[in-house]
Amino acid sequence: MHLISRSLPLLLGAVLLVVLSACESSVAPRADTDRHFSLYGVVSPDADSQGVLVFPIENELRELPAEPIDAILTSTDLETGEELVWSDSLVFREDGVVHVYWAPFRAIHDRSYQLSVRSADGDRRAAVTVKVPPEAEIAPGLVREDIWILQDVAITAPVERLNFLQVRYFVKAKVPPAALAYPVLLPDKQTSLGAPPPPTDPQAPLPPTDSLIVQQFIVPVDYSNDSFLDASGWTIPINFSFDFTDIRQRVARVAQPDPTYGIRLEHIEITLVAANAEWAAPQNVYDPEVLIQPGTMTNVQGGFGFVGAGYRLSHTYNLPDATLTRIGFRLDND
């Protein structure tokens, strides 16, 4: 008994050490997932062949090797049941290789396609279904004169979304030569070249008229958040009066335009992407820092990424001289 009581602490200590050393020390650094592939691309009826980027979801951060990946991509026309197997194509980039799967067919308007990707053994799968928007055109309506000069522009078919909608004004102004560096005037004081223009002093004396040159500016105005859909279809309500004021300010930011020449409109171009319903970034912001977060804009089942369906639409036109004069794009003495 005495021996047992003396040995007990040692025995307990030994048991404790064995228990402690057997405690779980491994870590599960990877969360379980049922997502296996990420897909990016656009199915377009304007292209003769379709292409989609395919990234396998891997356990390790690495550059993909220049060899085929274990992925088979097929597309199915959900109306006809026609199935195509897409080809893998290696594209070499500075930061490694990417895999573009492609197939030589032209997508048909108003038709749905399912793109399915799977591993050779079929264990890993992902799929996305996209519906190609119906064929449509841009149809400017009549110019209305109210307090402002307005025009409603219609889309002739019931497409589900109008993305990246811009009304681009091609204007001319007589400006100092330095303004040549800023051909596209974006709304946030930046230019298409990235560099902010030097500030101009509106009170400064105008340079001699003979040193000025006639410069064309492209001034895009974003109408993404202004278009609306009702029973009659899409309407883009253009307000030329507002836009003229905005354009005049943007031009003045990069140069002192000659007021005797004014801001003259050459033509208007409306551009947009007729898109499928899922092609919608949160708050309509297509910022890579936002959209890179997995799951933020995805329509891929069993994976991540986004595959859209759509096509570009554009329409170029001009306004009658009288309308231009009333807006301010033409001076009375022209």
Binding site: A28, I57, I292, R312
Partner: protein, 762 residues
Amino acid sequence: MRITPAAALALAMMLLAPQGSAGQSASVRGFVTDASNGEPLEFVNVVLRRDGALVRGAVTDFNGFFVLPNLSSGYGELSATYIGYTTEIDTVLVPTGQAITVNFSLEPDQEQLDEILVESERSTGAARVTAGQQTIRPEDIALIPAPDVSGDLATLLRTLPGVVSSGDRGGQLFIRGGEPSQNQALLDGILLYQPFHILGFYSAFPAEIINRAEIYAGGFKARFGERISSVMDVSTRNGNNRRFEGSLSLSPFVSAAHAEGPIVPGKLTFLASVRQSLVDQVASDIVGQPLPFDFGDAFAKITANLDSNQRLSLTGLTTHDRGTLGADLGSEIQPEEIRWENRGIGARYVVLPRQFPVFFEAGVSYSSLESTLGEPDNPSRSTFIENMHAMIDLQFFLDRVTWNGGASLRLVQLRSDMGGLFQNVEERGDELQHFGLYLEPEYTVSEHLKVRPGIRMQFFDTRFQPYIEPRLRVLYERGRHELSLAGGYYEQSEIGLYDRRDAASVFMAWTNAIAESDRFDAVAEGRVQTAWHGLIGYRTTFPSGIELSAEAYGKYLSNLFISEWTAYPRFTTNLQPATGRSLGFDLRAEIRRPGFYGYVTYGYSNTRYSAEQAELELWYGTETLEFRPPHDRRHQVNALASTTYRKVDLSVRWEFGSGLPFSRVVGFDGFALVDDIINAFEVDTDRRVIYERPFSGVLPAYHRMDVSMGRKFTTTRADFTVQGSVINVYNRANLFYLDVFTLQRADQLPIVPSLGLKVEFR
């Protein structure tokens, strides 16, 4: 907390106005030192008697300094008494309206040697915590099992509840929810930016040079500023002023040497220490795995006793560290090497003006840190920070109040370059100026109650719009019970950036509170980091040698700047504002018996950060993201038992820490922005990390047992100490580092037997 310039001026005038007229009364002050080595003695009772009746008494502080203010003129008998030393008695004449200096040098009393050890321990100890403040002396360090015979402050700090370390590797301490960059580490007033070596047992503070260390886990005094989490104020010894001493020690981990002695006896002393790691050469063979670490430090101090009223000391140190922390699995991605070097030099001047009961201290210092990460010859990340510092401190002694006040000026220069693979960070550089004023009277309200309110005015970047930092410390002692509380407001300008997505990220880049965001007001206005601290503690001592203490705390942090969350696999200084809070409590039980010392401590901590990144609402449907930062260790247990059996000292320590949070990865893929009718063959792509919700994973718990056994052999010329130790007795595979990108895993040290020898010459 910002105030207007007018209010600041009024407050400054009020603080700087004369607070009394006690300068005309007489006083006696001086220093008490150990006659055997000249080191200051703390807690010495100094008493003035006249005709056998007690006139006034005082207790020496950590400088060995005492002052008896408000005396009438005349003769008296001044005595200095300290257990373990012979009492010194001197007859003094106190002249009218003057301050006289009387220094004592007490001879150790061999018969009381054991008692002095006991008494010394009672001024420190595991349960001796008062409102977040704990004093550590070298003898406390010696109790902690370590892989070599020469102790280090780092081994003890890692055992404190509320202190989370990065482990055996890395050299990072998180104190009660704060981050390493929010800790202020001072060595004789010199600010050290990265004071811990790459092997977690070691720091720039070897036990050989330490006189004492004051650790403030929060609620620190107004004397300290510029940091928002904690203070480690380490004071070094002056060196023996009677005779030369030295020591050499050798272990598989470190070789060390130190020397001290009088250059001019009684006037000028020196203390020097040097250490160099042997881990890579020796310990790695014992462990059976590569330990690619190289580190070392050198320290030197010269102290001049200019006269009985003045002392000047010069301190210099340098540290170096180099090593790879990730596991080398032979893949194409080699583990990155981290290097850092601390440099520091400083001078301190202490004077007791002849006319006033004032203790005056002035100091200047310079220190720097250079750190790199990446390939040895081509680092991808680097940071450099240096500062010049000048300070004055004053203590003005009145009858029931001691006025503490001072000023400091620090000029900081920093730059960071974080470019490299998967990174998109620009080079950053900045110059900062910090100017601080503080006033902190300590009132002895009654025999039992001391109250120490304080206020610090902190000017960042020489703007006359100071930040006002109120502080308070209260101590109530009655019998064996002690109740303490502390609180305050703290601000910090410099930011230490590290990648929170790593399970154990060691490289920290220093930068400034920046004003480059049009998305966040706090960033755009360049607001500094702030914290509110509140602590309340209770401690009781039983005659049986048992001491218990409990302390609860809360820290509320604002204007933190943390890396933005992104799925791009990169290190980034795109900052997002965040707030944080840490709540917790410590329980400590300590027992001292003849031949036995032990303690058990438990710490609970709950830390949460709340990030305000603009994209969060789009990603998670919430404006702020609350998460557990990677140093949020919820539960900690530390136990130590130390005894002596047949002249062999035996120590056993066990520690447990619950698992730390980390961000689990679902996988890696690529990303392309679909913002038009893109051509898949031409569109730009990036690699991408697919994370779970940030910091929702938990790493395995950490626990380990260390033992050490040592014996000292004494000869007439030298003492020999032989120590054997085993670190991680049951060979627990504790995780140190997990690279979630490459799945590289590095563990803490496995079982490590070690044998060390130390020779002390005298």
